[in-house]
């Protein structure tokens, strides 16, 4: 466990009393129990996805034999899974990539550039997060309709370009703690602000970038309501299709195991991304820090 070794806090070694030793064991037991509680839903969902297709969730706890064909049915049985997977990828990318970039840029500006109105705007940035979805979505819907963007992917790009208040806050915190010597060096080299950001700050932002991609990307990957309200069937992401559920050919019964198999397939990409980024992710949240 290199990760554990790397992230474990450095503490002074102290001789342990039997009492402390018992406490250690209790702590180990507690963390194990909690891990089981946190993992159980996912494992249960996975077990459910292997059940006999009409069995629902009944039968022995561990299905035997395991019906792996539920996965092939989920992939091709009800709709073209790959088509909607692609839709999900496209929507997630156009909403996430620009958002991370513009948020980093804005976070840098808030942290490093002095300008009149900076603090006022920062309050506005934080303020937008308190505005409920319903209030802005209703009129935004009309704006989308008026601009002819209904049933297109344009709204996702707009959401992307305008960034995310949470991420702006995150990047601001991160860049505020950046050693200022870098700025000086860049200034001596005659870099402008944009070049300083692109050549000095951005390359050193792997951790917060990972956090930003993960937080925003998983959110958009699973986004559901905007897609149902704004997109035609051929553009909707997977979540919308899976939520309808899988039915038998006579459309009488929900095929629970197949629906669960599709849910598992649907959550694999973000989970894999999380595993790939998790080292940076943990460090990113640690180093960006929080202060109320």
């Amino acid at each position: 466990m290199t990760v554990a070794a790397e992230a474990a806090p450095v503490r002074r070694r102290r001789r342990r009393t039997p009492m402390q030793f018992a406490l250690r064991r209790a702590l180990d037991a507690l963390v194990l129990v909690l891990a089981v509680v946190f993992l159980a839903p996912i494992v249960w969902g996975f077990l459910g996805s292997l059940r006999e297709v009409y069995a629902g969730l009944t039968g022995p706890a561990i299905p035997s034999p395991a019906h792996w064909d539920n996965y092939s049915y989920a992939w091709s049985g009800e709709f073209a899974f790959s088509h909607y997977l692609w839709n999900t990828v496209v929507l997630t990318l156009i909403a996430t990539v620009p958002a991370v970039m513009t948020s980093a840029l804005a976070g840098y500006a808030f942290a490093r550039l002095r300008a009149r109105g900076r603090n006022t705007f920062f309050i506005f940035v934080l303020g937008t997060t308190f505005i409920p979805v319903a209030v802005v979505f209703i009129p935004f819907f009309w704006v989308v309709v008026k601009l002819g963007m209904y049933s297109t992917r344009w709204p996702w790009l707009i959401w992307g370009i305008s960034g995310s208040a949470y991420l702006i806050f995150l990047f601001r915190q991160f860049y505020a703690s950046f050693p200022t010597e870098l700025d000086d060096a860049a200034a001596i080299d005659g870099c402008g602000h944009l070049r300083t950001f692109l050549h000095v700050y951005l390359p050193n932002s792997a951790a917060p970038l990972a956090v930003a991609f993960m937080l925003l990307g998983t959110g958009w990957w699973g986004e559901y309501i905007y897609a149902t309200l704004l997109l035609p069937d051929q553009l909707v992401p997977l979540g919308v299709k899976i939520n309808v559920g899988y039915y038998d050919p006579g459309q009488q019964f929900t095929l629970v195991p197949v629906t669960l198999a599709a849910s598992i397939l649907f959550m694999l990409p973000p989970i894999l991304a999380f595993f790939a980024l998790q080292k940076k992710l943990a460090r990113g949240i640690v180093t960006t820090g929080v202060k109320g």
Binding site: P9, G48, I131, V135, I138, P139, A187, T218
Partner: protein
């Protein structure tokens, strides 16, 4: 450790001032901010004003070009008499006052366990965080599989323990089931943030306390909690906003033929946000929906203002004097 420490104090760090930079700083600042500003105008300012205007109109899905007109404060008067709206506000408040403490306690507890020098830290951290990255639709189906009256995990456990195990959790305890889902799915991010906060507390303080003979509980209440209050404040505000904005999960947890905003969500789980969206996209009543959405804005504004105001009594900002 040093990085974390500087970052928490880092807000105070001031940008350097150099003559060659300052001239271009203002224009660069607004240039860098312009994408967000564009979004702020298109996605927030204009919609907010439009929503306000809409709330005084009779706008529905079908009358934009035929019969749109000003109706005064009709929508607000109607909202005042709307029991269902008040009930949905009550349910939202219940979600806020149960979810936020549950979140903070779970997140802090997980963070403290991870901070206690436990083995395989990375593994446990991954497990506790995993639910955060699962998309809402998948989470909801998994939760339905757990809460199922016949073959669900919970009822199976109850039966093993000798209970009857025939509760239909989604139907009989919709809010409890929803809260369990949200605690499970929302603990991870806060856990990491608390972990960062814990790591920024100087170890020397604990050493001194130990030498003074302070008990573990005493060390927690006198050192850990006070020094974490800024983080707790942050989590409290985000938690309240998050809890107030819950509306997707109730929809996804409801069962039946209808999808989306038309699905038959049990009344206990119709949150204020969802109620507004239902009026708009369920009934097609944009004017009324906008009015109650604005009432919700005011409500959230008051709540967050109160929380921030209360901070002066309990948030501990004296970190610097304890610094190394």
């Amino acid at each position: 450790m040093a990085t974390a420490e500087t970052s928490l104090a880092g807000i105070a760090a001031k940008p350097i001032r150099r003559a060659s930079f300052r001239r271009r700083e203002t224009s660069a600042f607004y240039g860098f901010l312009s994408p967000w500003l564009l979004g702020f105008v298109v996605l927030t300012s204009v919609p907010l004003v439009l929503a306000f205007a809409m709330s005084f109109s009779n706008l529905t899905t079908v009358n934009l070009h035929t019969n749109l007109r000003y109706v005064g404060t009709d929508n607000y008067v109607r909202a005042y008499h709307d029991h269902e709206m008040w009930y949905s506000m009550q349910r939202t408040v219940i979600l806020m006052v149960t979810l936020v403490p549950l979140w903070i306690v779970t997140q802090l507890a997980l963070a403290m366990i991870l901070d206690a020098g436990i083995r395989f830290l990375g593994l446990w951290r991954t497990i506790f965080y995993l639910a955060v990255v699962i998309p809402a639709v998948s989470k909801a189906f998994i939760w339905k599989a757990i809460a199922d009256p016949d073959g669900g995990l919970v009822n199976r456990i109850v039966r093993v323990l000798g209970g009857r195990g025939d509760t239909d959790w989604l139907l009989d305890h919709p809010t409890g089931t929803l809260i369990a889902l949200l605690v499970w799915g929302g603990a991870g991010v806060g856990m990491l943030i608390f972990l960062a906060g814990l790591k920024s507390i100087p170890q020397e303080l604990y050493e001194v306390a130990r030498i003074d003979g302070a008990s573990a509980i005493r060390r927690f209440t006198s050192i850990t909690l006070p020094l974490l209050t800024p983080v707790i404040m942050f989590q409290l505000v985000w938690g309240l906003v998050g809890a107030a904005n819950v509306y997707v999960e109730p929809i996804l947890l409801s069962s039946g033929l209808q999808q989306g905003l038309g699905s038959s969500v049990p009344v206990e789980n119709v949150t204020f946000n969802l109620y507004a969206l239902q009026r708009i996209f369920g009934d097609g009543d944009f004017g009324y929906g906008a009015a109650i959405a604005w009432i919700f804005v005011l409500f959230l504004l008051i709540v967050t203002a109160l929380v921030f105001w209360s901070g002066r009594f309990w948030v501990f900002y004296g970190r610097e004097q304890h610094g190394r």
